[in-house]
């Protein structure tokens, strides 16, 4: 995060804004953006939170009230109980956790093999994996859905099971790219030293490569979790059993039946876990986004 806060020289010099006119203009501009940004990004959340506290009449009343007349806390209880939000949140957490584990195990092992063990045809495998980055994911949703519905060779149906989320998440060319690039930067001598000590490839991976790779593993983990929480089209196709759905799909299904006040409360509850996750891992997420994410 240091890179953000370092006192660098920017467009406008420090001297220019620290005296006289410049100083006044700076504070006006700062105040202006503070108000505008808060309105644009916090106010919707406020509207959602208070909308969930209004009564059924008040929430659809025109013009709307800026603050609820009577705080109807029962909306939140109703949303939690009747709309089965706990189920949806738990499902999504399980899917995200599993996707994280599978991606870490399979993609790390694969990137390590491609970077350090370099088997025959390794370059072809790498090329095929990276080539998938060029293929638009939404286009593949249909053939992948048909594949998951009836897995070739094995003839099993993975829809409405966590596997339908977990396994396809491993086929992520970007993970392979990020991990392999990081493993490539680990000096060969470090690994040959371990080999001389008699460590096999698995041991080398576990006790030498992984400890150094913590930053990139963090980036991959965060991307994995966020991707599952945000995905819409794929879970819409493969999870049609209401008891198995994710937050996004659950909300989409609920919207037809639920009254506006309870539904607004549900929207707010559904938004909380990710926002809390973001507040906790803020530094890692932002650092990952800028350093790990896009330097290729």
């Amino acid at each position: 995060m240091a890179q953000f806060d370092a006192p660098t020289r920017t467009l406008i010099s420090h001297a220019q804004i620290s005296r006289g006119h410049g100083r006044i203009i700076y504070w006006i501009v700062l105040g202006f953006f503070l108000v505008v940004f808060t309105l644009i990004f916090i106010f919707p959340l406020y509207w959602m939170a208070t909308g969930g506290l209004k009564s059924a009449q008040e929430v659809i009343q025109s013009p709307p009230t800026w603050f609820p007349h009577v705080l109807k806390w029962s909306n939140y209880a109703d949303a939690w109980r009747h709309l089965k939000l706990a189920r949806l949140l738990l499902n999504t957490t399980i899917y995200a956790g599993g996707a994280l584990v599978f991606q870490l195990v399979f993609d790390v092992a694969a990137a390590y093999a491609l970077s350090k063990l370099r088997p025959v045809f390794g370059n072809i495998v790498l090329f095929l994996m990276l080539a998938t980055l060029m293929i638009p994911a939404t286009v593949l949703a249909l053939p992948t859905f048909l594949t998951v519905f009836n897995l070739p060779l094995l003839h099993i149906n993975l829809t409405n099971s966590p596997w339908a989320i977990w396994l396809p998440s491993v086929a992520n060319g970007f993970n392979i790219f990020l991990l392999k690039r990081f493993f490539d930067s680990i000096p060969e001598e470090l690994l040959s030293a371990a080999a001389i000590d008699g460590a096999g490839p698995l041991r080398t991976l576990w006790s030498i490569v992984l400890p150094i790779s913590r930053p990139i593993l963090g980036v991959v983990s965060i991307f994995a979790v966020v991707a599952v929480w945000k995905d819409f089209l794929w879970p819409l196709l493969v999870l049609n059993n209401p008891a198995k759905q994710t937050v996004n799909i659950g909300l989409y299904q609920l919207q037809q039946g639920a009254p506006q006040d309870v539904f607004t409360a549900a929207l707010f509850i559904a938004s909380i876990p990710m926002i809390v996750f973001f507040l906790i891992f803020q530094r890692n997420i932002m650092a990952g986004l800028t350093s790990g994410g896009l330097k290729g």
């Binding site: 890179q3 953000f4 806060d5 020289r9 467009l11 406008i12 010099s13 501009v29 700062l30 953006f33 644009i40 990004f41 919707p44 509207w47 659809i60 599978f102 694969a110 491609l114 063990l117 088997p119 390794g122 994996m129 998938t132 060029m134 293929i135 638009p136 939404t138 286009v139 593949l140 249909l142 053939p143 992948t144 048909l146 594949t147 009836n150 070739p152 396994l167 396809p168 491993v170 086929a171 490839p201 966020v226 945000k230 819409f232 089209l233 996004n248 799909i249 909300l251 989409y252 919207q255 607004t264 929207l267 559904a270 938004s271 990710m274 996750f277 932002m286 986004l289 800028t290 896009l294």
Partner: protein
């Protein structure tokens, strides 16, 4: 003299290495490769089932007719001629391109301008960064339903504010004129955080001396942006441009939740139409054919970008 020695020494070393490698028994080498493929197995199986095979299947399906029972017959180019004669085909392309272009005007410029402004502010920077990224972390369906409510022409927040300010109100999602624009506003709001933070990081890497030098030559604010800021962030600007076009040409969630493809099919985008072909009409062949066209266009676009940037690097 020394360089020659070094290179000779190196070549001797290499020859020794080669000899040593030849002495590794065959079984050892096979084992080494087998172990490596054991590490690769999980990923290869997943890529195989959920990425490589679907690509092949998409291509095959677009030349076939598939019925419920899973029987397939080859129909040649019939799927392609069928979708080409569907009036929705052209409106869907127009909708996707319109969304992409509008998203370029707003979604592409807004994060960059925001980043430039935030980079100049010297207080509460952490708060600003937190704010712009907050919507990125919302479940998109929750955010979309919230905005659908904001856009309501009757009791929606936007029209309420406009009425309070005595400004003309809008039908937002329900008018053919403003529906697409409404989708783009939402899309910009929810996505701009990532772009802003990436630009902020690259603005931090611009050497300050460049600005000082420009000032000595009397350059004003806009000339500094034009001649220093933009050229210095050129690579990240072009990368995000490419990624954004590829992403916006695949827009689905916004029209699906906010406008349902309406009004009058005005916001039925290409991916939305693929979804309708496949899951409303169970016409997998047409869905695959339309998908394949989009795939070829976007993969070609991405490939051209990679090729051009490679060539740029070599120069």
């Amino acid at each position: 003299m020394t360089t020659i020695n070094v290179s000779r020494a190196r070549s001797i070393e290499l020859a020794q290495e080669r000899r040593q490698r030849r002495h590794v028994p065959l079984w050892g080498r096979v084992r080494r490769h087998a172990v490596a493929y054991l590490f690769l197995a999980g990923a290869i199986v997943c890529f195989g089932f959920f990425s490589w095979y679907p690509i092949v299947r998409e291509t095959v399906m677009s030349f076939q007719k598939t019925n419920f029972a899973g029987d397939t017959t080859w129909v040649g180019l019939k799927n392609f001629t069928h979708i080409r004669h569907d009036p929705e085909f052209w409106t869907a392309w127009r909708a996707s391109i319109e969304f992409s272009l509008l998203a370029l005007v707003f979604g592409y410029a807004v994060p960059f301008v925001t980043a430039i402004i935030l980079n100049e502010l010297r207080h509460v920077r952490g708060y600003f960064r937190l704010l712009v990224y907050l919507p990125v972390m919302m479940p998109p369906a929750a955010a979309a339903f919230l905005w659908k409510w904001f856009y309501d022409p009757g009791d929606g927040l936007f029209n309420t504010v406009l009425r309070d300010l005595h400004l003309p109100t809008s039908q937002w999602l329900q008018s053919t004129h403003t529906a697409m624009l409404s989708l783009v506003f939402f899309s910009t709001w929810i996505n701009m955080g990532s772009g802003t933070l990436i630009y902020l990081a690259s603005l931090q890497n611009i050497p300050g001396e460049l600005y000082e030098a420009a000032e000595l030559e009397g350059a004003g604010l806009f000339r500094k942006i034009w001649h220093i800021t933009i050229p210095q962030t050129r690579l990240i600007l072009s990368l995000l441009l490419m990624l954004q076009i590829v992403a916006t040409m695949q827009v689905f969630l916004e029209p699906f939740i906010l406008s349902g493809g309406g009004p009058q099919g005005k916001t039925t985008t290409v991916v939305y139409l693929i979804y309708e072909y496949a899951f409303h009409f169970n016409n997998y062949g047409s869905a695959a054919a339309l998908g394949l066209i989009l795939l070829v266009i976007l993969a070609g676009f991405g490939g051209a970008y990679v090729w051009l940037s490679r060539r740029g690097d070599e120069r």
